[in-house]
Symmetry: C2
Subunit: 414 residues, 2 copies
């Protein structure tokens, strides 16, 4: 990392950046510094033409023939095989389908069928809670003594004991960006005879995830953050080969049937990853999500992670150098190895500060009670973006421009 | 209905058709007679501009702000309230979300929480089987003596006995187009103290469904058939007001939480119809589906149903008049009151006959073992379309043109 910080030095880093060519593939609004790709990734330019093609040609002209001719039926597998390369999975281990939450429900239910004698699920109560909610819905259905044991980073290993059926964690914390050590926790999970489930919402497309290298059993995630799939684009499921055909999920729709077009009366599970599918998929959202994945296939995942660390490191150093007198406290880990692709600071006036930034075209987000959160997407965020973002923040703090935003304090919702 | 059948008489019917103006709202491919709107509805012309707007403006420029500014978060409810008007539901009783199968799972699970002392579900084994599959997945989870009692039209009332928890039927049969009498069966269902669940996949947008008039408890359906929402566009859920806040579904994601943006650790159910939501929705598919619903809001549902009956009646009569010598047997009910908006015939060479028709731009579909199926969408199918379709079929049968198609007998998949 640099010793001196200047805009010129950032320009130099951009010149040396092997990923810089990817920025031109994205339609970043003019003048905007978008540091919220960890919530919703920006639009790949090619997504527009793809959407038009699906609507005008495949739907409009091809109509029902497109289920075969445009390969609509195989989108979950085709996208899954592309995504697999970004997360250390093999062919036929990933499908893109449904929402992350529904997928979490599926894999958790599937995992529990393999450990029926155990009743405890370990989760992380402070992370984005929809995974907890889905698990709570499932456990209430199963009844019969099931419980969730919530733990935080520091007491996680201690929580993983011989009575645990599954450990189900979000890899990168949505607020702090802190990473759980996937290799160590999965090893500990297996040591006690439990199964590991990872939620990769804040990892896929930003970290060099290695599911099979870590012997992970199941994983889920979304495609609309770092993978730039579009608003609410379908989530994904990873099931390790060793569990396929055995650990079955209960949302048994016709796309997960062994012979969907036989229209048999009774369900027979597809033997492979297809069993993780349920009903008919939203083709337009799914097809457009492929555009983001295709861009990633040309990028080196290790280079993405390396740049992610450099961007967040630069941001923290510039904040320390130029904003330390304004009351920001780093919430994210200082060690880049333990940090995802986002940086959060707490600040007493976090909400109006973020509003002031957004009104000056630096888009991050706010997470209650006092967190300002900045996401750095290696494919389209430049080092100069980081410099300019801090520059505008310095201006806001210096002139107390955030006071103007205090009058507009409605709840932050993204 | 006419006594004489001629193309001129069909032209006259089109001139008198109060719905004929709607045809121009749809992008029907040049020269195609599309009789498969019961599988995938054609594209409303306005869908293209809407898709471009969502991708280019709302996603591309608005980015995360669009969750509020473009009302992405309220799409399930907004579309639901529009759809409600087509199926006899009230405001705040319908949401558009997820797939039909997942929605069926939700409402069936919710219904069973209200009848815990009963273990029998009545279903129709010969209908499109994904509902059976979802029910089988749920019942396997619940264990403990639950069973499905399958019945057909003729023994349905007899199957609904005092031990039944829920009767879960697809309103219109996907192959035959035969209608279950919603009012009578729902009344019988309530008489024995059970709850009624209707799948409206082949009804919504074609029949004058009156859910509240029939005191239906729950319903689900899709938006990509007669509602022209686009390939795999999200399904819907109806929950009668009296069950909201009580009959809760178990796929408890954050969109169904009482306060989704409080990010509380534990699930608290939303009090109203929102509890039927689970995770983040595929916005592009959902937003485009609204275009089809908006067209319907300008149409009179009773006129739609009246035209549907006239179209299918005309088709059957023309087939009888002009094709009777070619071995077609009517599979659909003769009585229009008992028939949905589709007509099926069985034919020994059904598959090559349909292939020959499709290659001559008359698009219906084939359902094993020997059914040729034709769907009639009142908003864009003309009476002349019906004449011309039969005309081309006569030509195919007369000259035995279908024999050419026998060489291309791969499985029909739509």
């Amino acid at each position: 990392m640099m010793n001196e910080y200047s805009r010129a030095a950032c320009e130099q880093l951009d010149l040396e950046d092997s990923l810089s060519e990817f920025r031109d593939e994205f339609a970043i609004p003019e003048g905007m510094i978008y540091l919220d790709g960890n919530s919703l990734g920006v639009r790949p330019k090619a997504a527009l033409a793809r959407a038009v093609e699906v609507v005008e040609e495949e739907w409009g002209v091809g109509l029902i023939k497109s289920w075969n001719q445009a390969d609509w039926f195989s989108l979950p597998q085709r996208l899954g095989n592309k995504l697999a390369k970004l997360i250390g999975a093999d062919d036929d281990e990933v499908v893109v389908t449904d929402s992350t939450g529904l997928n979490l429900y599926k894999v958790l239910a599937a995992a529990l069928t393999q450990r029926t004698e155990r009743k405890v699920i370990v989760m992380n109560g402070s992370n984005f809670p929809t995974d907890n909610y889905m698990a709570q819905g499932l456990l209430a259905q199963l009844g019969d003594g099931y419980e969730i044991r919530f733990a935080e980073h520091d007491d996680m290993e201690a929580a993983i004991t011989e009575d645990v059926a599954a450990v189900c964690l979000t890899h990168v914390h949505y607020k702090t960006g802190r990473i759980f050590d996937m290799a160590a926790i999965t090893a500990k999970t297996h040591e006690v005879g439990a199964l590991s489930i990872w939620d990769l919402c804040h990892s896929a497309g930003a970290l060099d995830v290695d599911l099979n290298g870590c012997n992970v059993d199941f994983a889920v995630g979304c495609t609309y953050k770092y993978l730039n799939g579009g608003p609410g684009s379908p989530g994904f499921i990873f099931t390790a080969k060793c569990h396929q055909g055995k650990a079955l999920q209960p949302l048994t729709g016709w796309w997960g049937h062994a012979d969907p077009f036989a229209f048999e009366r009774d369900y027979r599970p597809a033997p492979g990853i297809n069993q993780m599918l349920s009903g008919t998929q939203p083709i337009l959202s799914l097809a457009v999500a492929e555009v983001g994945l295709d861009i990633f296939l040309r990028a080196d995942v290790a280079a993405v992670r390396a740049k992610s660390k450099k961007l967040t490191e630069l941001f923290i150093r510039l904040m320390t150098q130029r904003c330390s007198q304004y009351g920001f406290t780093l919430v994210s880990p200082e060690d880049a190895e333990c940090r995802g692709s986002q940086v959060s600071f707490s600040h007493t006036h976090g909400y109006p500060v973020m509003q002031a930034l957004i009104s000056r075209d630096v888009v991050g987000d706010f997470r209650a009670p006092d967190n300002v959160r900045f996401g750095f997407t290696p494919l389209y965020t430049s080092y100069v973006d980081v410099w300019d973002a801090v520059d505008r923040l310095v201006d806001i703090m210096e002139k107390e421009l955030w006071r103007d935003s205090e009058f507009n304090q409605r709840g932050a919702v993204t």
